[in-house]
Amino acid sequence: MSLLQIDNLSMDIVNTSILRDVTLTVDPGEIVAVTGESGSGKSMTAFSVMQLLPESVKTSGSIYLDGKDLLQATEAEMCRLRGNTVGMVFQEPMTALNPVKTIGDQVTETILIHKAMSPADAKTRAREVLDRVGLPADRFPLSRYPHELSGGQRQRVVIAMAIALRPKLLIADEPTTALDVTTQAQILDLLKGLVEDFGMGLLMITHDLAVVADMADRIVVMRRGEVVERGPTRSLLAQMKHPYTRQLFEASGHQVDLPPRPEPKPLLEVKDVVRDYRLPRTRPFAPHGHFRAVKGVSFELHRGERLGLVGESGCGKSTLTRALLGLEPIQGGSITLDGEPVFSGTKPNLAVRRKMQVVFQDPFGSFNPRHRVDRLITEPFFLLDEPPTGKAREAAIGEALEAVGLAAPDASKYIHEFSGGQRQRIAIARALIIRPELILFDEAVSALDVSVRAQILDLLADLCRAYDLSYLFISHDLSVVRTVTDRVLVMKSGEIVEQGETEEVFSNPRHPYTRTLIDAAPVLPDLDALGRSLTDA
């Protein structure tokens, strides 16, 4: 019998079926990836192994872990298993740790709660596992608090807590989704190393096929609560028997067809922009320190051009975005649109602001839930001196909604009636409605499922054809930037380290940092090569 054996697991929450007949196994030392889009039930499968489910859930089938049926286990028995026989790593490292306890306390707690060692030994073990996950004692003493660590470091602490007692099975639920590509690569390496060292089984939940393609031994593809395909990674990817697997694969590497761009004519000019943040005083009456988030950035965006901006979190790309929009003053340099400054004197220049719109990342948080769609998407009209009213307003709303693939009657609905992808369409409609000359997409597709993301990218290409859009596309996702931009800027620590034609930068990166980024980004395997190697074998 396998280490973990899930047989015909079905799950319902108040008459809604969440999982249907899910069967999967994990052996010791094996990495099994469960992949699928949101709503596929992959996370619920993981949580059912931990038995950390809402109380209203009804389950049937069986989950055997190390020979014990978890669905029959009492809560007390489960508490003995959790953290001991099975450990879990979560998606969001920023919130997965208790902010008021030291990392040492939190790691030792796993050991002490199972009464596995004396407090002194537990402390030694906590130190050992923190060292093992790459948090050495000199820089990361046990007395550190979570808020003193970065996202990647916090994820390492979460992993240390999960493996402190050398569990037989580790469950990782989207462990790298919230992390930068380079950090992601390190965390994946760490997980792989732990599986090898300890002979653990690893059940990894991810929406990103590319992440698991060169890591997992076996892949399980789920859709709407069912397993649609399973198999060893290479043969599964080479054959892709189920159309959904193929659809997922194609959507992950989706390419769009951008129309050619017009002759270069400057639209947005950014010269030597500097943005300083004031730091709190280090001691009373000491002068304020400053943190320079953007260090003399210069670039141009031409009319009709699609420009990409890539970089890791903290590199200053969001700060730069806010400065471009005139939301914050800059401390040096100039930002002009059509020759006019976006920020004049002490306040944003409205004449320029109305030529720019922005689409944000979070399709769930960026709308007021109490307003109807028509009011939401006409908000940019406040920037106009004479906003259209009556019939003209209705026509504008209808046109904007239809342009993004929705229908005019959707205007009277509330935002909660729409899915994430539809909301992002509404966000684009809101940006389009005053026909801006420039749109900023700030991680606009990062929160979407791959198939929805592919549709939104297609929509962008269509809009480029229909409206001659110029946009700045800010993203940490290199594969997306590669397909929807003409030119790209690479930003690191507040500076632009490389810029050039997108294809050229990606296929022939000059700056070492660009190379690091591209190397760290997970890529889907080349299907032809994969097929050949399988036949050879």
């Binding site: 997965a96 208790n98 709190p280």
Partner: protein
């Protein structure tokens, strides 16, 4: 951490200075002549003039302000116009009733509210939660003097465990004093406990939904262990804020309860001083209360930092 304390302390000093200025100028300067006001419209001019000299109103305002502040700092609050006794003694006597009463009531309210709030949060939506929430609804809705009267009826008149009113004084022993403050403290504490329990419950429910509570469960903690080890301390910040506000209220706002139980407290002193237009007493008591509120806020700020390491490192 030291930097944080220093900053909070600095803001305490500034708040006190601003408060003293505002109180002084609003009461003494704004409504015209205090002496005339204190004596009423029909007073003889020479009586007013005499009072003006007595109050020291004939010197410049800034001098009077400095004198007043210097007096406050050294404990010399001046002399009451109606009682002809030093205000500092009057306030000190009253404070010996009001301060213990406030602390007693706050302790009771915390002791009742914490377990009730935690219990309700742990059993969200179940019978226990509904019972606690129903009780707190009642506690918030029913005025404290009604509790006071009911308690006098039951515990003083029927059971004769406590006296119906008055304060025995501390010179007959600590427990005698506490005994005579018990009924007033309980009636003050009940509505406060109801509010605090609701705050505790909702703060804890917010925390229970946090990711790190799930992490704790994944480590093998039981629901109860996770709640106590990771939940309660994180829920304390909003609770501390309410406790701070309640203490200030209890110190001065207990006038109705003092009236019901015939307690010689600060509330009644202010009430009498206002009715007899004894402005110097009002001014001094108000300043004292402001001092208490600001000091309590300072202590709450320090408590925040003790609870949450993120505040400590934010310099």
């Amino acid at each position: 951490m030291l930097n944080y304390i220093f900053k909070r302390f600095l803001s305490l000093i500034i708040s006190l200075a601003v408060a003293s200025l505002v109180i002084f100028f609003v009461i003494e300067v704004a409504p015209g002549d205090p002496a005339q006001f204190m004596l009423g419209i029909n007073a003889q001019p020479d009586t007013v003039a005499a009072l003006r000299t007595e109050l020291g109103l004939d010197v410049p305002k800034w001098q009077r302000y400095l004198g007043w502040v210097a007096g406050l700092v050294t404990g010399d609050f001046g002399t009451s116009y109606t009682y002809r006794t030093p205000i500092s003694t009057m306030i000190a006597d009253r404070l010996w009733v009001s301060l213990p009463l406030a602390i007693y009531a706050l302790t009771l309210s915390t002791v009742i509210a914490f377990p009730a709030g935690i219990y309700a949060a742990a059993r969200r939506g179940k019978g226990g939660d509904m019972a606690v929430m129903g009780a707190t609804q009642l506690g918030v809705a029913v005025p404290n003097f009604w509790f006071a009267m009911m308690m006098v009826l039951i515990f003083a008149i029927n059971l004769r465990w406590f006296s119906a009113g008055g304060f025995a004084g501390w010179d007959k022993g600590f427990w005698t004093g506490i005994h005579s403050l018990t009924l007033p403290a309980v009636s003050l504490a009940l509505p406060q406990a109801a509010i605090l329990a609701r705050v505790m419950r909702s703060a804890l429910l917010d925390i229970l939904g946090e990711d790190f509570m799930r992490t704790a469960r994944a480590k093998g903690l039981t629901r109860r262990q996770a709640l106590w080890r990771h939940g309660v301390r994180n829920a304390l910040i909003p609770v501390l804020t309410i406790i701070g506000l309640q203490f200030s209220f209890l110190l001065a706002g207990s006038i109705i309860i003092e009236q019901v139980f015939y307690l010689p407290g600060l509330g009644r002193l202010v009430f009498q001083a206002i009715s007899s237009r004894d402005l110097i007493v009002v001014e001094s008591v108000v300043m004292l209360l402001v001092f208490a509120v600001i000091t309590v806020n300072f202590l709450v700020d320090l408590a925040y930092a003790a609870v949450d390491p993120r505040l400590r490192s934010r310099t």
